[in-house]
Symmetry: C2
Subunit: 545 residues, 2 copies
């Protein structure tokens, strides 16, 4: 018995394109001898389709595409994820998160997802009605249990026991020989290892092999890492498909496992690969072929440029270095050195003249008022304006380069350095920015060492350094993790030994800058809690804790 | 039997402040002879708290505040909305959307919300576990059924039968003499009338009086209009509390109704009142006391200024008129005429010098390339930059002035005229902008008639008019309503008699500009489907329909 795992990269709402991707992978698996082929959750739709499902023709067109796919399938069955209607007379949500078993030209079986995640980045109860129970499918002499993503995430791997049922237990009680799972499980650091442990545990408990087919590719803020898995009935990981790339593989899940498949790459390598995939998919799925960005000579823009050059090719990355009177010559030199190392284009565009003109324009209103953060923001906004004009003129997508630490405390200028269509490293804390940059330089200097080694500065006033305003990044990032990711209160964080004034300053800055993040570009999520669709804070609120 | 209805305006997460607001209204009702006082849904918390509930100390502090409130209450009971924990060992979501019956210094009863809306702007299944059944409370010789918001929205008033149970039927079967409902029901045009019909229907079906206490005030994008209601057992509306303001009233629900309470104001008046309340609450709850905005001489900025002057007082509104070489003198004159009519400050700041400096800065990169939309956007972005510098220097909140029609088709410049902390009229289609503006001028000219009567123009190139680019607003707004609010496909809209090329152009523009709206300022929702938290479209997607 050979199963083909088609780890494909669907585009949301692209039914004809996704059908083609599915068929190509299906045929590849057939050639490699598959007896059955599995694709990811909502493989025909792309995950997550979000409110597109409410468009009057979305689900009808999905079902048309499913019929077309079914017509292409003969003896070897194909498992496809799609969206179905709930019965119009049945109370509940209008749709089902569904899987179809296609063979001999028709839909032989339909399976509904039972456990619908409605937390973090997931909104499935907004759209879907849960299935109540699924029946094993007998095929080729074995009984196959089919589940969709969350259905196999047992409560040991969730934040709390969310559900009052366990679809794997139900299937086991009915008797199965093999468990299949169609998934769209987004990446964050630690998730691939967690999945190995979880899938192994499910296999051990159900005493059957498990085949876990995950989607790959990025859709908006979510990066799906692939890393599809096969576990034997003892919970040993027989096979792990590649991370962050389209792949297919045909395996026999009943073969005994001698040695487990090797596990994942290092943290910085995973982060880097996730961001490269995220940039490539965001830019190309949006129909752009090139990007521009501002190069400040600092580490954030350097890392962003390196990721973009890898994702799109250096010929498709255009840098601007925009020195102000407060910029050091070193910053411009570092930008050119970076551009040379990466092979990307870089142009110097000084902002002094524009800065003087803007100041002169506002002078009548500012008479007698000292220069302050207003003039710092002016510089950042002039740079944003210049970059957007380059983006407009030459049809580049502008990448914004801020990291998670500064976005958290609002150490960034809205409509200034926050300008851009995609916030590439906005979920990387500053310490991780250094870690990934050093990893990039592991063999040779790509990001100039001077950029990595010098003290970080926004260069918006003479001799400015980040640490004039911010706590040291080692401290800042630790407190931010406790406050933002763990959602602890200031008091709880202080009780862990952090300085009270620092903690309260950070807490206040995070809360006060919610409005700024509301208008931030979408970012690629790589930690368990990004500023993005998985974190929904009110702007107008007075809770302090 | 006299019931006090406390239609209060809570601030999200402000437990001490909300407790004070509740107690003040409670005492006011006591003085007016109330035997029992009801407050809105989550009255102690503010609606919606969103992900604040996940903060480790949020619910504990809410429960502390509830205990404090209970301690203040003697014989006359108080009904308060709050968030409770779900039992830690019970599967499901961690929290309950709850109501507490406080009397004699303690919490006498706790009621869980049964039907949890998870559609449109609502995310309650993300946080709350539904209650299963609630018992009537016997008090003062009568049996009272207590429900929370959605619990009484029968399927006739929902998009489809979402729920497989009916809490009012359950309570009726157990026997009740009076039905109470704590609500946080946000405004959109048509909602107040819908509620009257719905509450009347509930009363008729259950054959008991209904008291419906709604919250008032704005939290982020949602404006709550109050309009609390009392229906007699025949479904006649005995009392309607004022719209868009804090109010309390003591009524006897068992008195026979002679004539029904008058219904709502006209559409433009409701829209105007909703936006005034929305601006006032957003600005003041955020801790600002003044706003600034750009005055273009056009109708959008004029209406926004008029709303702001009413909401905050004209002395707290500062206008900038920023003519370019393409601005007509009439536009500047209209801005000054508006400022004079409203009593707000207005300063003229020409952008020519800054525009020339920016063009000169980019000239080396733009050699040989013709002027295009890039230079139009430059002007809008220079204005955004100047307004933000005024906002920074003098601590005004910047209001952005775009309407829904232009936001829909992306006829606006990101980081330009889209700059600002609040998008006041971003849910008003252009035709409604005219309607509300004419209503404002019903007694005397406030918005200059010239502003209302002249053809709309962005004035970003010589002799530009909106209708050079856009279909006539009468057509555009009708098609947008069908596409965005009704979610119909292009084909369905065309089949209703609209021109194919116009429909497809609009559909494409709406879809392509999702990325721009992702970075838009929060807007005040006044229609059934705003661009905002109730509409969650992917940016990267290829569905056409």
């Amino acid at each position: 018995m050979k199963i083909g795992i088609a780890q494909i990269n669907p585009v949301v709402g692209d039914f004809p394109g996704n059908a083609k991707r599915i068929l190509a992978a299906y045929r590849e698996c057939l050639e490699a001898g598959a007896d059955l082929v599995i694709t990811p959750e909502l493989s025909l739709v792309g995950y997550p389709p979000r409110d597109l499902v409410f468009k009057s023709q979305f689900v009808p067109k999905c079902l048309q595409a499913l019929d077309y796919l079914a017509g292409e399938i003969r003896e070897i069955p194909l498992l496809v994820g799609y969206v179905d209607h709930n019965h119009p007379a049945r109370p509940g949500k209008p749709f089902r998160n569904a899987a179809a078993w296609l063979s001999h030209g028709v839909i032989q079986h339909r399976i509904w997802k039972t456990l619908l995640p409605t937390y973090d980045v997931f909104d499935e109860r907004r759209y879907f009605e849960p299935g109540e129970s699924s029946e094993p499918i007998t095929w080729g002499g074995i009984r196959i249990g089919i589940t969709i993503c969350e259905d196999i995430w047992t409560e040991d791997y969730l934040q709390r026991p969310f559900y009052d049922r366990d679809p794997v237990d139900d299937l086991s009680a009915k008797g199965i020989d093999l468990l299949l799972n169609l998934s769209a499980s987004p990446f964050h650091l630690g998730k691939p290892l967690l999945r190995r442990a979880m899938i192994g545990g499910v296999a051990r408990k159900a005493k059957v092999p498990v085949i876990y087919c995950n989607t790959v590719g990025a859709n908006d803020q979510l990066v799906f890492d692939g890393h599809s898995l096969v576990a034997d009935a003892n919970g040993r990981i027989a096979t792990q498909l590649p991370g962050f790339e389209v792949a297919s593989k045909v395996i026999d899940p009943f073969l005994p496992v001698e040695t487990e498949a090797p596990s994942n790459d290092s943290d910085p390598e995973q982060l880097y690969c996730a961001l490269v995939l995220g940039v490539r998919d965001y830019v190309t799925k949006c129909g752009f072929s090139s990007v521009c960005l501002g190069l400040s000579g600092g580490i954030d823009s350097a890392l962003t440029a390196a990721i973009a050059a890898d994702a799109l090719g250096p010929e498709n990355v255009v840098g601007l270095t925009m020195p102000s009177p407060y910029s050091s010559r070193g910053s411009v030199d570092d930008s050119f050195a970076l551009a040379k190392n990466l092979g990307i284009q870089c142009t110097e565009v000084p902002i002094l003249e524009a800065f003087e003109a803007i100041k002169a324009t506002m002078q009548p209103l500012f008479v007698g008022k000292p220069e302050d953060v207003t003039e710092e923001n002016m510089q950042a906004r002039i740079r944003g304006l210049l970059l957007m004009s380059l983006s407009n003129k030459d049809n580049h997508l502008l990448l914004t380069t801020g990291n998670k630490s500064e976005l958290a405390v609002g150490y960034c200028t809205i409509y200034g350095d926050m300008c851009g269509g995609l916030a590439v490293i906005s979920d990387l804390p500053k310490i991780r920015v250094y870690e990934v940059s050093r990893w990039i330089n592991r063999d040779r200097e790509i990001i100039p060492w001077d950029t990595i080694d010098k003290p970080p500065s926004a260069e918006l006033r003479p001799d400015q350094k980040d640490q004039d305003t911010l706590p040291p990044y080692e401290i800042l990032d630790k407190i931010l993790e406790l406050y933002v990711e763990c959602q602890l209160s200031s008091d709880e964080i202080i009780s862990r030994g952090f300085e009270e004034s620092t903690v309260r300053w950070i807490q206040r800055r995070v809360d006060l800058n919610e409005w700024k993040r509301h208008q931030a570009a979408p970012g690629l999520r790589v930690t368990s809690k990004a500023f993005g669709i998985g974190r929904r804070m009110p702007i107008v609120q007075k809770f302090i804790g």
